[in-house]
Amino acid sequence: MRLLIKNGRVIDPASGIDDTLDILIDKGKIEDIKAKINVNKAKVIDASRLVIAPGFIDMHTHLREPGQEYKETIKTGSLAAAKGGFTSILCMPNTEPVNDNRGVTEYILSEARKEAAVNIFPVASISKGQRGEELTDIADLVDAGTVAFSDDGQPVQNSQLMRRALEYSKLLNTLIIDHCEDKNLSEGGVMNEGHFSYLLGLKGIPASSEEIIVARDIILAEKADARLHLAHLSVKGSLNLVREAKKKKIKVTAEATPHHLFLEDSRLQTYDPNLKVNPPLRSREDVHALIKAVKEGVVDVFATDHAPHTPDEKDVEFDEAPFGINGLETGVSLILDKLVNKNIITLKKFIEMISTTPAIILGLENKGKICVGADADLTILNLYQEIVVDITKFKSKSRNNPFHNWKLKGAPSMTIVGGKIVYPF
């Protein structure tokens, strides 16, 4: 059945379109876009007062499958993504076993074909077992369907290995993503090091643990002339390094998460383990620097770092709780409310940072744009809808989200993946 979406405000940063248009979808592709489309035999969706954007892409999620299905599965994570307005998500390799070989990548893709509501793109580890010692078989993994490589929360400490990974990535034109953290500096830390960590008696993670690895990676990427993507940047110093690197035309891109943009470390005074995340929530100065970096284009994309953990795991001593915030179902509304509605960034810029640019960084040629022949992945937004975040209604298996009861304006109203409506369910 063909799908005809009528009267929506279509915003496609890739082509510069911002107009009221009809979109016709057939066989998973966009067949036509123009002011008035009239066809027989099509399911018609009235998108008046709604915004139609190219499907949102989350470059950073944890789906926990295989191995930790009690926290999340490919199915539940993808439903959370669909509800959150995402049509494609990348899943990080820190599963059990680690996604460091073709077998695990193929397993994830096969489960995704059977169970997932949205497109799943696996990220494999840079090193075998995320141990930071030997490279994975990068070409074989790319062949199996991996779109990027990252050791994520166990980042490569050995600079020689990182150099080799960046160099080798050019062979496949694939992407190295780094979670920047010097583990010697962050050892034992549970929150941002600063006034509040000293006040609360919690061990700090210093800004320098991120900055040092950001600086190292930029230097290595420049020498290797390789592409480098920096995950969830959180401190001012890192952003200054990226700003300088971009001036020098080094091929570096960076992401920011909603929680680092909208939560400061002062909130930790409640000792709420749902605020425990790595990198940690930072100081007010860092938060302001991050918002500024988004405005200036120093940060290229928004990503959620969706990291589900069960209540049993989080409802413990702060020191003992695992790091991570469950973010797929709140990210879009948070950014709409806090950045777009407050005119800090335009709606077009938001769509660019959550769809157009991720597609370009990942080389997903038929995604991140609305044009004839492109994949029919669309996110439809209602900018006027007011929501109250309710973690008990999450599609995710877990509930570890600190925005419970926040009132936000603007929300995804429909998610279309390959021409199929995957949300509302």
């Binding site: 000293y198 006040l199 008696g201 049993d312 413990v316 001593e317 702060f318």
Partner: protein
């Protein structure tokens, strides 16, 4: 005098007048411990659990005796003999103890924020007996009580706190308390254990003990843990001792009649030489003695017992 808090989680939220109330109440309890029959019926019928997840000599015994001298029933929880070693979570442990209907839980835990955490799901009064590097409110209260006893006031005194400030809950609670009461506080220690951010709390910091101690009314020494040296917070105990031990020679720089305090346990010959620990200026054992009266006051104020005349 009613106390507006249900729990005592830390000094930070208290006002100076609330601190005064606790100290004045303690004053009235001090004499009970010197009687032939060291017991009043004030908290008769109340049940208290001493929930200590860390080793403790002074604080645990002090709370136990404080409770007993107020006629409350107290149960001691021993971590190693508990189901914690079988993997029971902290929350389940506390919920099970709560099911036995105690009136108060006194908790000591190695993780900061645990008293806050359990106060979110407990009916009982929660008393923080030391949480990680966060707070140790009754220690600060007994320190303030002892300073007042010796110096008749706190306001305007120069208090030097020396040692591992970074990891010390005693230092934090004392900073909050003594500052609220108008003391001038100078923190002393090697730079890795004395972050500059402590200045935000309104105190001075000085890496040099020799200059900091000049004109001090109170010299508060903190225990230095041997394992800090392994993490390179300072090069060696030998070097630490040379730079930061309180010796007779250094103490001469303090004000005449200055007092020496230490929350215990002491590393004799490390942060404190034996002659200093046992000198006339040392009030270390008075701190311990006063600890009981201060903890009686805290239990009394939180658990009520208003109908009984406390100074009978």
């Amino acid at each position: 005098m009613a106390f507006r808090y249900k729990h005592l989680l830390g000094i930070q939220p208290l006002t100076p007048s609330e601190i005064e109330v606790i100290l004045n109440t303690a004053e009235s309890f001090l004499e009970i411990s010197t009687r032939e029959v060291k017991k009043v019926p004030t908290l008769r019928g109340k049940t208290i659990i001493n929930l200590f997840f860390e080793p403790s000599t002074r604080t645990r015994s002090s709370f136990e005796l404080a409770a007993k001298r107020l006629s409350a029933d107290i149960v001691n929880f021993n971590r190693m003999a508990s189901s914690i070693v079988k993997g029971e979570s902290l929350k389940d442990t506390v919920l099970n103890l709560e099911a036995m209907n105690p009136d108060a839980i006194i908790i000591r835990h190695n993780c900061a924020g645990v008293p806050h955490f359990i106060s979110t799901f407990c009916r009982s009064h929660i008393i923080n007996a030391g949480d990680g590097a966060h707070e140790h409110p009754t220690q600060a209260l007994l320190d303030a009580f002892t300073i007042k006893q010796e110096k008749k006031k706190i306001e305007g005194l120069k208090v030097v706190i020396v040692g591992d400030i970074l990891h010390s809950r005693v230092a934090r609670s004392n900073i909050f308390l003594l500052q609220k009461m108008g003391a001038k506080i100078v923190l002393v220690g090697p730079p890795p254990l004395l972050p500059l951010e402590f200045k935000n709390l309104g105190v001075e910091i000085d890496y040099n003990f020799g200059s900091a101690i000049k004109g001090a009314d109170v010299v508060m020494m903190l225990r230095i843990q041997m394992e800090r040296q392994e993490k390179n917070y300072f090069p060696s105990i030998r070097e630490y001792r040379n730079l930061y031990a309180l010796t007779k020679k250094r103490f001469k720089q303090a004000k005449k009649n200055a007092i020496i305090m230490h929350p215990g346990p002491i590393n004799r010959g490390v942060e404190l030489s034996t002659d200093m620990a046992e000198s006339a200026a040392s009030v270390i054992l008075k701190q311990v003695e006063n600890g009981i009266a201060v903890r009686m006051a805290v239990l009394y104020l939180l658990l009520g017992g208003k109908e009984v005349e406390i100074t009978d």
